[in-house]
Symmetry: C2
Subunit: 155 residues, 2 copies
């Protein structure tokens, strides 16, 4: 394996294609879909034989969650809980529902936050919070992430 310095200055196309930076991003944890009808959404995946969890209210996050386990990654179905759900606005704009965010795992949320701030990527809130899976998470501003609301979750 090349040293860190060697990797930074490597010039072959293969090396250039693969980033020489210390990896911040880990596995794809889940893709979240906001759903106006959670029972219908769960049924959609159940009808295709998927492993679908029961709905769990997450009052502190303003959502109900259902997890569709695809083995290597999850689909997270979201439905508003309470009056101030963070997905109300999204569903008002997208009546049929749609993909709300993508969640990528990181090994160390504090290092990840420091890195994204260094890169000029805005975070939603200054600090990590405990997410729906009981792990520290932070959301990155979609305007700084290719138009995609991106969640980082400490694995």
């Amino acid at each position: 394996m090349l040293s860190a310095v060697g990797r930074v200055f490597a010039t072959s196309s293969r090396s250039m294609a693969t980033s020489a930076l210390a990896p911040i991003l880990g596995r794809l944890n889940h893709v979240a879909i906001a759903c106006p009808d959670l029972e219908k959404a769960s049924g959609f995946y159940k009808n295709l034989g998927a492993d679908v969890s029961a709905a769990v209210p997450q009052p502190e996050h303003g959502v109900y969650t259902v997890f569709v386990n695809l083995g290597n990654a999850k689909i997270e179905l979201l439905h508003p809980y309470g009056d101030k759900s963070p997905i109300e606005g999204f569903l008002a704009k997208n009546k049929a529902g749609g993909i709300h965010h993508v969640c990528i795992e990181v090994a160390d949320i504090e290092k990840a936050i420091a890195k994204v701030k260094e890169l000029g990527i805005r975070t939603l809130g200054d600090k990590a919070k405990i997410g729906a899976h009981g792990k520290p998470v932070i959301f990155l501003h979609p305007k700084d992430c290719l138009g995609v609301l991106t969640e980082l979750e400490q694995a």
Copy 2:
């Protein structure tokens, strides 16, 4: 393990949560992001240390593709190729880009197509085509898939 019949008629909440149907859906293959600026998009993931491929023109699909390998699944960055790219309309509506589709693997594309048609889920086109990875794929109508353009790819 319960027999298939036992599972169908099981009434505990745990058994009901997991589908008793033959599974059609396999692993999450990729999440595709349409990007107005492919170099900027590649740079975003490279800056976070991800394994990012070179851009590959896919004339028969009207896109350039870049793959971000997150280990368990991929992010597919898409940019229009040619005058009639299937993602032009999406980028006209979403100037900054955004999530375009989700791709889930299936073991047998023909069985999967038969099953989704049986469930009343419309396909875009009647038959599977060879996708960007050289494997048979079909897209499902977003209106029948929770507002999400959903690609099935034979693994």
